[in-house]
């Protein structure tokens, strides 16, 4: 039997599978799930497991940037991830149901402090080189503001790029701004503010509407209360 990779769903019945992002959003995600009445004690423990089964809800932990992938395919019914991830993977068709209002960050364009190479490159060459982990967000932003850029995708510490001359500036996610400051960089433009979002698979949203609505309601209360 041939199957398109990842198309089938491991299980359509049973507990609702919730994708939980590890990393920066992890603690706040567990807190909001707790307030919504979901037991997260096991996830908080020392276990290195990836799946934490429950009777009504099973928690599945993963990288934040994988959440849209799992949720779109229905491998997880619902999940939590950052708006930055959703914007970068905007082709993923998922329901974006709630702004959970934590993990607040700004997507910014930054350059070296006191250094005019960003403006200089734009003026003289009509073109800036921008290093980023978010190439699509960066491309959309410069396209929308009518500027030509060469977007250079990097995977690691993007702050390095302007310091050693790989790029004139960076587009990156900033929470406190300390990393920028430590590397002698400063914010030049704010692109968008990002917070954590609760998302749902399109089919789960329809076929498991009672459970999805129930969890949505509880999370909404947990956020506003």
């Amino acid at each position: 039997v041939t199957e398109v990779a990842g198309m089938g769903r491991a299980k359509a019945e049973g507990p609702l599978k919730v994708a939980v992002p590890r990393g920066a959003l992890f603690e706040d995600t567990l807190d909001v799930l707790d307030r919504a009445g979901i037991d997260t004690a096991e996830v908080r423990g020392e276990s290195r497991a990836l799946i934490f089964p429950g009777t009504e809800i099973t928690l599945v932990t993963m990288r934040p940037s994988d959440v849209p992938t799992y949720v779109e395919a229905g491998a997880a019914d619902v999940g939590i991830t950052g708006k930055d991830v959703l914007l970068e993977q905007s082709e993923r068709m998922v329901y974006e149901l709630i702004d959970l209002d934590f993990g607040r960050c700004r997507m910014v364009l930054a350059g070296r402090r006191g250094d005019e190479s960003l403006g200089e490159a734009q003026r003289r060459l009509g073109m800036m080189r921008i290093a980023t982990k978010y190439p699509r967000i960066a491309e959309r932003h410069f396209e929308a503001t009518g500027r030509q850029v060469e977007v250079i995708e990097v995977k690691g510490s993007v702050e390095l790029a302007p310091l050693v001359g790989l790029a004139d500036g960076i587009v990156d996610l900033v929470a406190t701004g300390r990393t920028l400051e430590e590397n002698d960089l400063e914010v030049r433009e704010e692109i968008v503010t990002c917070t954590a979002r609760f998302v749902a698979n399109r089919v789960s949203h329809k076929l498991r509407s009672r459970e999805v609505d129930d969890l949505t309601g509880r999370l909404r209360e947990a956020v506003s209360g």
């Binding site: 039997v1 041939t2 199957e3 398109v4 990779a5 990842g6 198309m7 089938g8 769903r9 359509a12 019945e13 779109e72 395919a73 229905g74 491998a75 905007s90 082709e91 068709m93 998922v94 329901y95 974006e96 149901l97 709630i98 702004d99 979002r197 698979n201 399109r202 089919v203 789960s204 329809k206 076929l207 509407s209 609505d213 949505t216």
Partner: protein, 334 residues
């Protein structure tokens, strides 16, 4: 091991005999349902004049493959079968007595980002019912869709029934027009409800209550009772839309074909030509939508023939995957 690799474009694939045999069985079962209900199978060219396809749907033509022929004419690969059949009907059946019934099983092409179940070349099976207005025309199409799902063995599949005009008209009623309205409709079609809320809240002259109505409607899905819930949210537009959905649902009940139908006021398909009823098909075995359809009463007019129309299309690869999953489940020991 060994041999030279000759690549094929991303988003396309070869189908080998084992899968082809299964697909063939599925195709035959489905076309039999269509033909049994009076829908004659048609084929149209995979390439058409770009200008003709764009007349049907300027937006879906955006993602199409285009190229030039030897005379410099712009050609395009069709992105669905609905527009080519509208063209075919308008040029060949203009004086025929409606209603007209056609079915197809054909490949279509979209320049999408290839991913699971989202190929650039994909097979669709579907019907077009031309000249039969709502609600009976819609009900007939849903009835055929139901019989098709049964023939494919998808006994758990659900058909979502919504209304394409609801939000467009509701926003107009709220005084939201032009770019702001289009932007909100696009967010709804993208299922970005946080974005809808943010954009509505930023608009002047729209009350919290109106904003809440929009968001609450988008989450209303279920049995007939959601029509009552929607009506309580109020407004003339909501009243008209729920009446349209209600009429279709009653016509389906009268045909004994409402069993799989879930009323869904949040449905919004992004194909530009829909008006009135819209359909989406889901199966619990699959995280992706199996297909969809609805009414496009204004489409034939763009080709010079003013007839109401409705239809649906199923993605055959996805139907096949759901069928395989269901069979393996039934065959598995408890």
């Amino acid at each position: 091991v060994g041999g030279v690799i000759h690549p094929i474009p991303p988003g396309t694939r070869d189908i080998l005999p084992d899968e082809m045999r299964e697909l063939r069985r599925l195709h035959l079962a489905i076309v039999e349902v269509f033909e049994g209900r009076g829908y004659g199978e048609v084929a149209t060219p995979a390439i058409e004049y770009d200008e003709v396809l764009a007349r049907g749907d300027g937006r879906s033509a955006n993602g199409a493959y285009r190229f030039f022929d030897e005379r410099g004419e712009t050609l395009a690969l069709r992105s669905d079968m609905t527009v080519p059949i509208a063209r075919l009907v308008a040029s060949r059946y203009a004086s025929a007595e409606p209603p007209l019934r056609f079915c197809y099983l054909a490949n279509a092409y979209r320049a999408v980002q290839p991913q699971r179940g989202q190929m650039r070349e994909f097979a669709q099976a579907g019907v077009e019912l031309i000249g039969a207005p709502a609600p009976e025309g819609t009900a007939e199409v849903v009835e055929v869709l139901e019989a098709t799902l049964e023939a494919a063995g998808l006994n758990r599949a659900v058909i979502g029934l919504g209304d394409a005009d609801l939000y467009r008209q509701l926003l107009t009623e709220f005084g939201v027009e032009g770019q702001a309205r289009d932007s909100i409709l696009e967010r709804l079609a993208m299922h970005d409800l946080v974005g809808v809320e943010t954009e509505l809240a930023a608009l002047e002259g729209i009350s919290d209550e109106q904003c809440a109505t929009c968001l609450a409607l988008s989450q209303l899905r279920g049995g007939k009772e959601v029509l009552e819930e929607a009506k309580e949210l109020g407004g003339e537009v909501v009243g008209r839309a729920t009446a349209r959905i209600g009429e279709t649902f009653e016509a389906l009940e009268a045909r004994g074909a409402a069993g799989r139908v879930q009323i869904d006021l949040g449905l919004l398909r992004d194909l530009g030509y829909y008006s009135g009823a819209i359909l989406e098909v889901y199966d619990p075995a699959l995280g992706h939508v199996l297909g969809g359809g609805g009414r496009y009463d204004g489409l034939l007019k763009r080709f010079g023939l003013d007839l109401p129309a409705a239809g649906f299309a199923l993605y055959m690869e996805r139907v096949h995957i759901a069928q395989t999953e269901d069979e393996s489940k039934e065959g598995a020991p408890k």
